[in-house]
């Protein structure tokens, strides 16, 4: 790989963690035959929930934090609990203590304590053609598809290495070639609400590692967030195009590509296949964390149709703090608003056996990561059912 003089200096004369970070980028670049490291404007790292990374992760991060400092603005994924209300949540003190140590290690490295899987909702919005290194599959999919920024699907350590060096190997979704669609996916039904998650689940299963070019519908930024999160769960997709909507769709070549169709019947079948619970103990909204508008909308709905089971809302600290009125309404109706954490990386399984959620990504991960049963349905239908 061709390195700039500054990159060579980091590799040979940098601090211990800078040298390790360079080694990681060079090895990963070598595996994918990248020719150089491309400078990045931001990084987003995953691997912050103690539930997910455990003692090995904690140990590594604390050691690394001794001399590792990020070189570009860097945000980090949700933790395993809300550090402000872990006691009320019944989280074991040992878990909370270790979780706090992980948060401190990231802070020491200069990482912004965002604890969010939706950096794009809290002000980190790289522009068209901008190179970044993001982990967290839904954020990757959003950045590439909706914003037109360029990032591969990084893992926690590789995103952290890129943050420390300020660059990432140039291959895959960083290149024009890697952003070309592989399959045209025609959707023959007009989607609303939950349907966007369902389209993502079905397309991801069918496309696998490919890059889908969707046709036949429109959607808001919010809709595409849910679609992308589900798509990146069942498939290893880091990007999609949507005809007439996403910024690079108009110049994406589609001629001669294999095509497939998603019908209303496929969506109904997907909803059924991701539902294995009978009666929900909680309605959980997150995965990814909710936006400001979504939190407010939930507050209005809960006020209109008060639920008889708790409604738990996962969002970022930034959004929670800016919407205390909506938070108050949700809590008055027996619900909770959790910040710093998210649906499947949080410690939830000790309280609820069956979770109802409108998140396709949540429905995909909850059974394996949390050993929970799931009811996947539209938020309005869930609130009616549990009114």
């Amino acid at each position: 790989m061709r390195l700039t003089p500054a990159q060579r200096r980091l590799r040979d004369e940098g601090t211990q963690s800078q040298r390790k970070a360079m080694q990681i980028l060079l090895a990963l670049g070598g595996l994918s035959e990248a020719e150089r490291l491309v400078p990045i404007t931001s990084a987003h790292v995953s691997g912050a929930s103690y539930k997910m990374i455990g003692d090995p992760g904690l140990e590594f991060l604390e050691d690394f934090a001794r001399d590792a400092r990020v070189a570009v603005p860097t945000t980090v994924n949700p933790l395993g609990t809300d550090l402000a209300q872990w006691k009320e949540l019944g989280i074991p003190p040992d878990f909370a203590e270790k979780q706090a140590r992980i948060a401190r290690a990231y802070a020491t490295m200069g990482v912004r304590p965002s604890f969010s899987c939706t950096p794009y909702l809290i002000g980190v919005r790289p522009g068209l053609g901008e190179h970044v290194a993001w982990a967290e599959s839904n954020a990757v999919c959003f950045a590439n598809s909706v914003l037109g920024a360029r990032t591969n699907r990084e893992g926690g350590p590789s995103a952290l290495a890129a943050a420390i060096v300020g660059a990432t190997p140039e291959y895959g979704l960083h290149t024009d070639e890697g952003r070309k669609p592989t399959t045209v996916v025609r959707v023959t039904t007009k989607p609303r609400g939950l349907d966007f998650s369902l389209i993502g689940l079905v397309a991801g299963e069918r496309v696998g590692e490919g890059l889908p070019y969707f046709r036949g519908f429109r959607g808001t930024e919010e809709d595409l967030k849910w679609l992308g999160a589900a798509l990146a769960s069942t498939g290893s997709c880091g990007m999609f195009h949507l005809d007439g909507v996403t910024p690079e769709a108009h110049r994406a070549p589609t001629r001669g590509l294999p095509s497939m169709t998603i019908t209303r019947r496929d969506l109904v079948a997907a909803k059924r296949s991701y539902t294995d619970g009978d009666e929900a103990d909680v309605i959980a909204l997150g995965s990814p964390q909710l936006s400001e508008q979504e939190v407010r909308k939930i507050a209005q709905r809960v006020e209109r149709t008060p639920p008889r089971i708790p409604v738990w809302v996962f969002t970022s600290r930034t959004v929670k703090d800016a919407n205390l009125e909506a938070v108050g309404i949700i809590e008055r109706h027996g619900g909770r608003v959790l910040a710093d954490t998210c649906l499947e990386v949080t410690l939830l399984e000790h309280r609820f056996g069956t979770v109802a959620t409108p998140s396709g990504k949540g429905a995909y991960y909850l059974p394996s990561l949390c050993k929970q049963k799931v009811i996947l349905d539209d938020i309005d239908r869930l609130l009616e059912r549990y009114a």
Partner: protein, 260 residues
């Protein structure tokens, strides 16, 4: 013998091999405190990683695996070195974080548990001091979807009576591809080969001898061949049919290395 692969993580290590024939996940695959292998599909469950050269085709599973490797090394129960056939991000990053020398592009199926191994992560090489290397070339000839196999005569030095592709010993520093073309000419009389692919070397073990097989694929325009003294019979077969023949070791893998 010394085999050249690709360097992944720097440093040098020496140890006895623990060889798994199947891909490995460090999450759940090994005990994080003792470094004992837990995954029964490896065939080496119960063995301890400490001090070993751990050889497996490639990593799989959760990215937390990188941190697991780091934790094993920190507790001094991790492997001394890692050898993969094709490295992926989880194990490569883990080895770098942990400071464990690592090399890939080595045919791990040719390594055996207990082999003494010297691994050089700076040069990307793996050395087996106790094993003698016999470099050979194997030419897979293809015509209209079928490949040529020949049955070795009673006059040849090894694997008499077994089915093989066209092959021969590599002498000194000669170019493997040139040697392969030469062997095809001698053993079949065929000329005008069109070269299609060369595969990464396959390690075929026969007791203390390790055949370092350089595989090549050529298209030929005719099925009309003239055998010399080395072979007594020939067939044009589909690659799926190889299982039905008694072949030289790892012929199927050699064919798969060039037929994708």
């Amino acid at each position: 013998m010394k085999i050249r692969g690709r360097r992944i993580a720097p440093g040098r290590a020496a140890g006895d091999a623990l060889a798994s024939p199947v891909p490995f996940s460090f999450v759940g695959g090994a005990d994080p405190v003792t470094g004992k292998i837990l995954d029964p599909s490896t065939g080496i469950a119960g063995e301890r990683l400490a001090g070993s050269i751990f050889a497996f085709p490639h990593g799989k599973g959760s990215t937390v695996g990188s941190y697991m490797i780091y934790g094993l090394a920190k507790r001094e129960v991790g492997p001394a070195g890692i050898v993969n056939a094709s490295a992926e991000g989880i194990v490569a990053v883990g080895a770098i974080l942990a400071g464990i020398p690592m090399v890939d592009r080595i045919d791990t199926a040719g390594l055996r548990t207990g082999d003494r191994i010297l691994l050089d992560g700076d040069r990307g090489t793996v050395e087996l001091p106790g094993v003698r290397a016999t470099p050979v070339v194997t030419a897979v000839l293809r015509n209209r979807g079928r490949i040529l196999i020949v049955r070795r005569s009673e006059k040849v030095g090894s694997f008499r009576g077994r089915w093989s592709a066209i092959s021969g010993h590599l002498e000194g520093r000669e170019d493997p591809k040139t040697r392969a073309i030469q062997e095809v000419r001698e053993e079949t009389g065929l000329r005008g080969l069109s070269f299609l692919a060369a595969g990464a070397p396959i390690l075929a073990r026969n007791d203390a001898t390790m055949y370092l097989v350089h595989p090549f694929l050529f298209d030929v325009s005719s099925r009309h061949i003239r055998l010399d003294w080395e072979n007594v019979e020939h067939r044009w077969v589909r690659s799926e049919e190889l299982d039905r023949f008694q072949t030289v070791p790892r012929l199927k893998d050699v064919v798969a290395a060039v037929l994708r």
